[in-house]
Amino acid sequence: MRKAKWLVPTIYIIFLMLPIYWLLNMSFKTTTEIINTYTLWPQEFTLENYKKIFTDSTWYNGYLNSIYYVVMNTVISVAAALPAAYAFSRYKFVGDKHLFFWLLTNRMAPPAVFALPFFQFYSSVNLFDTHVAVALSHCLFNIPLAVWILEGFMSSVPKELDETAYVDGYSFWRFFFKIFIPTITAGIGITMFFCFMFSWVELLLAKTLTAVAAKPIAATMTRTASTSGYELGLLAAAGSLTIIPGAIVIYFVRNYIAKGFALGRV
């Protein structure tokens, strides 16, 4: 029993890593090798695919665009959600339950439903093809999620903390920034992780709202797949590089994932 226990996670992790390995494997191969032979590792190891991405501005701008709007969205979402989540966790007010559910419904709305109206709406306010447009549109699902997660973390902080601070003569905002926010750092970390994650991986809205100037990397890949034939090696290299920002974020929140989740919505 004891021995067999690590077997399940190990097999699962191997299953998770296989497609990722295959993508990396492809990215180091030449196009001829990919098309003509089936090899478990690159026979003619090449960095050409990566070189192309780092030297061609349409490629590397895609990455910068994506990172730019994702960071913007994460900051907006968390900043707006912090006071709101505090209100939901501490106070009762007219329409609080309805508002909370209404927020959640936006997390449930299929982006496909909103693609066309978003395009028309953001064009009409002259925000089409800007980073702000994508960052704002991703608020649609990230703010509700951020409020939801943060509310869970805040509710697990006893109310006595607030009351003691007021007795000690703290003003609300001083309490909020000096005491409350440091108490829920783990929760904020987790929330940022989720906001980053959902904004980074979303493509439908990001693609609909951009043309050239703010085009995300994922959309650049789609275009490559359709126009310049089927350059699998290049596509694989671009795909492999999209894993890196996520991996970095995970590395930073790794301690929070373990501890933070447990404090969160449990």
């Binding site: 226990k5 690590w6 399940v8 996670p9 699962y12 992790i13 998770l16 296989l18 497609p19 990722i20 295959w22 993508l23 492809m26 478990l40 900043a79 006071p83 709101a84 209100a87 966790s89 501490r90 106070y91 009762k92 007010f93 609080d96 559910f101 959640l104 449930m108 709305a109 299929p110 982006p111 496909a112 439903v113 909103f114 066309l116 109206p117 709406f121 549109s137 608020c139 649609l140 509710s155 493509l203 439908l204 990397i217 994922a218 890949m221 789609t222 694989a236 795909g239 920002p245 991996a247 974020v249 995970i250 590395y251 790794r254 301690n255 994932i257 373990a258 989740f261 919505r265 449990v266």
Partner: protein, 288 residues
């Protein structure tokens, strides 16, 4: 927690309210606008009443994609939830294994969805993909671009690969919140492993599991990018789930009226199911 009544709390909520309303209400009104009218471009609209709704509700195409959608969502929930719990239960509880497991397992969650589709496409290609090649070498006649069963198998396997970790992370968090005293008490009572699971672990995980089911339901119900890149909805329409069908109708054929009506029906179905979940969840919260 007992909350105090404070109407000023609305001021805290205003930024969120404005940002979400800006994104939700105006576009939603556009959809409603299209749903009841016929347009030939140039901003000329004709009132159509409920014609599009009737047309969609009676169309076989909608029934078929809705059926596929429910089947898909049901299958992935049925696989991911138990699998996620099983993995969370067997994961290491301390030491170096914890961060290693968590980091590696979170990887699929942070890969852009079209890259997931592209990655699985490359992985499953019958001639040069590892999965496709291996299955064919083992004697299975596997080709996900041509056979319906294989296309479904690949799409489901991709979704299990992509999202099971979310269930694992949430369940793991639920398990971590259980005080060691509970386990000690169970040991003293001589409880079996199964009893510990059903009497201690499962009830403690109830809340996170509800969230996991809710999130997985919502996300799988609006799945678009991954199957679009992997199979393009094919072969034929075999994997054309609701969103794929909707985008095809709205942006491909430019049938704005029917597409808008379909959007609203689609949204209402998601809303209804989630409302039921949410009410159940909140009721449980009130009890405990």
């Amino acid at each position: 927690m007992n909350k105090t009544v404070n109407q000023k709390a609305w001021f805290f909520v205003i930024p969120v309210f404005v940002l979400v309303a800006f994104n939700a209400i105006i576009p939603l009104m556009t959809v409603v606008n299209y749903a009841f009218q016929e347009t030939f471009g140039n901003n000329v609209f004709m009132w159509e009443g409920t014609r599009w709704f009737k047309q969609i509700m009676l169309s076989e195409r909608f029934h078929a994609s809705l059926g596929r959608q429910f089947l898909f969502t049901f299958i992935i929930l049925f696989i991911q939830i138990p699998l996620g719990i099983a993995i969370a239960l067997t994961m290491p509880k301390e030491g170096l294994g914890v961060p290693v497991c968590l980091v590696l397992m979170s990887m699929p969650l942070l890969i852009p969805w079209n890259v997931v589709g592209a990655m699985w496409n490359i992985f499953a290609l019958p001639d040069i993909g590892f999965l496709g090649h291996s299955l064919n070498a083992l004697g299975f006649d596997y080709n996900f671009t041509q056979q319906i069963g294989d296309a479904w198998f690949t799409t489901i396997l991709m979704d299990v690969w992509h999202w099971t970790s979310l269930v694992v992370l949430l369940s793991y968090a639920g398990l971590r919140s259980i005080q060691p005293a509970y386990y000690q008490a169970a040991e003293i009572d001589g409880a079996s492993r199964w009893a510990v699971f059903t009497k201690i672990e499962l009830p403690k995980m109830k809340k996170v599991l509800t969230i996991a089911i809710l999130l997985r339901f919502m996300d799988s119900f609006m799945i678009y990018t991954e199957p679009f890149v992997l199979t393009g909805g094919g072969p034929g329409n075999a994997t054309a789930f609701l969103s794929i069908d909707l985008v095809k109708m709205a942006l491909g054929q430019f049938d704005l009226g029917p597409a808008a009506a379909m959007s609203l029906i689609y949204f209402f179905i998601v809303l209804l199911v989630c409302w039921v979940f949410y009410t159940l969840m909140m009721r449980n919260e009130g009890k405990s």
